[in-house]
């Protein structure tokens, strides 16, 4: 079995930012993503998940290193100033590299 290195970019953002994140994912050229609603707390206070509009969304995106770098750069430049969010990158290994 051959595993291939790839990057996992995780983004946690306020629900109002979800559309902007999705647009950005499309622009930088990711091949897919997974998302789910989460609660959280951070610099901008607690976010309970009882009103969908006030909750957070977590995005998880597997992608090639250069796309991950671009995604993080644009996140930092364009969305971080505007929305409550955190984002981080980690290393993963996948089976079919062509898919990402």
């Amino acid at each position: 079995m051959n595993l291939h290195p790839m990057k996992l970019v995780t983004i946690v953002c306020e629900a109002y930012a979800a559309d902007a994140v999705l647009r950005l994912l499309a622009e930088v050229g990711t091949a897919g993503h997974t998302s789910f609603p989460v609660e959280g707390s951070g610099a901008r206070g607690r976010r309970l998940a009882d009103i969908p509009e006030y909750a957070n969304t977590q995005f998880e995106v597997i992608t090639r290193p250069e796309v991950a770098a671009l995604l993080l750069e644009r996140l930092g430049a364009e969305l971080f100033p505007r929305y409550a969010m955190v984002a981080y990158e980690s290393d993963v290994r996948v089976l079919r590299p062509g898919k990402f």
Binding site: D50, I51, Y54, E78, Y83
Partner: protein, 320 residues
């Protein structure tokens, strides 16, 4: 008036709201699941829209145009007077003043529902199609507020189309207008079929929903000290003035006492779902804590308890 006030304070809706506030204050673990919040919202919007549509089918469109235009004008006007007050009276940043102005010009569907409940409880008739006013009055103020904020130099170059779309096609407007059209097409025949679900239990569902709204508002209470005394006062004075204005405009537009009271309540209410979404998109530099805390923790409870009976009293006073 004071009898009506007491009766309102002792209604299930207001008391369940207070219970939610208490739960948040004593930090009870009580929490509504998100799906329940969404389900109740969908139910309430569809029910009120459908009922309004059936009423509209009976009343005819002709009786709605004038009040609807009045409501749109009212919504567009409110940010125009609140913006300078917040900006120079309250010494707020331009973008914050514009954001708050947008919230107060737009409307809160739950406050409207509570007002219809109030009218039903005291047995005062109103134009059921007044729900159309709720639908048309959500967006104008948002657009005006965003333009004010942009002129003041706020915000990144967001395509205006997106903002208009957000303001016009949000979830709540869509459900409300959609159900209204469905109701208008079905008429009383349709009401007979779905009335036992959409009408009979309505007041109870609203009471349960207000318990959740109390929780939501209560969690905002701790932000009150962050908003400063000016905004605190604004959160009470602005709805009082807007309410009076709305009642006057409604009366002039030919609405009954009940209908004018509803337009007043709409003007008095501040949006906490649709406006934040659009403002967050177009004016991201605005501090959402200010507008949301004022709308949810000050103005919403004020309207629910005192504002609604006040509008009602004023509407009866003005009635020819």
């Amino acid at each position: 008036m004071s009898d009506a006030l007491v009766a309102n304070l002792l209604s299930p809706a207001v008391l369940f709201f207070a219970l939610g506030l208490v739960a948040a204050l004593v930090r009870s673990e009580l929490k509504f699941p998100e799906a329940l919040y969404s389900a109740l919202t969908i139910y309430l919007l569809v029910a009120i829209g459908f009922k309004g549509g059936v009423a509209l089918a009976e009343a005819g469109l002709g009786r709605v145009w004038l009040p609807a235009l009045a409501a749109i004008g009212l919504g567009a006007f409110i940010p125009l007077w609140t913006y300078p007050v917040l900006r120079w009276g309250g010494r707020m940043a331009a973008v914050d003043a514009a954001a708050i102005a947008a919230h107060y010009g737009s409307v809160s569907a739950v406050t409207f529902l509570a007002a219809t409940n109030y009218l039903a409880a005291i047995g005062r008739p109103y134009e059921s199609h007044a729900v159309a006013l709720l639908a048309v009055m959500e967006s104008p103020a948002i657009l005006v507020g965003v333009v004010l904020g942009k002129r003041a130099g706020g915000g990144p170059p967001v395509p205006l189309g997106l903002v208009v779309r957000e303001a016009l096609f949000g979830r709540s407007i869509f459900l409300l207008l959609g159900a209204l059209v469905v109701g208008a097409l079905c008429g009383p025949d349709g009401m007979e079929k779905v009335g036992p679900f959409f009408v009979t239990p309505f007041q109870g569902v609203l009471a349960l929903f207000l318990l959740e709204m109390g929780l939501v508002a209560g969690r905002r209470l701790e932000d009150l000290r962050r908003v400063g005394p000016f905004l605190l006062a604004f959160g009470i004075v602005a709805p009082a003035l807007n309410g009076a204005l709305g009642v006057a405009v409604g009366t002039a537009a030919g609405l009954s006492a009940g209908g004018a009271m509803l337009l007043g309540v709409l003007a008095a209410s501040a949006s906490y779902i649709a406006a934040p979404a659009a403002v967050r998109l177009a004016l991201p530099e605005a501090n959402p804590t200010l507008s949301l805390t004022a709308a949810l923790a000050i103005t919403f409870p004020f309207n629910l308890t005192v504002g609604i009976p006040l509008c009602d009293a004023f509407a009866r006073l003005l009635q020819p």
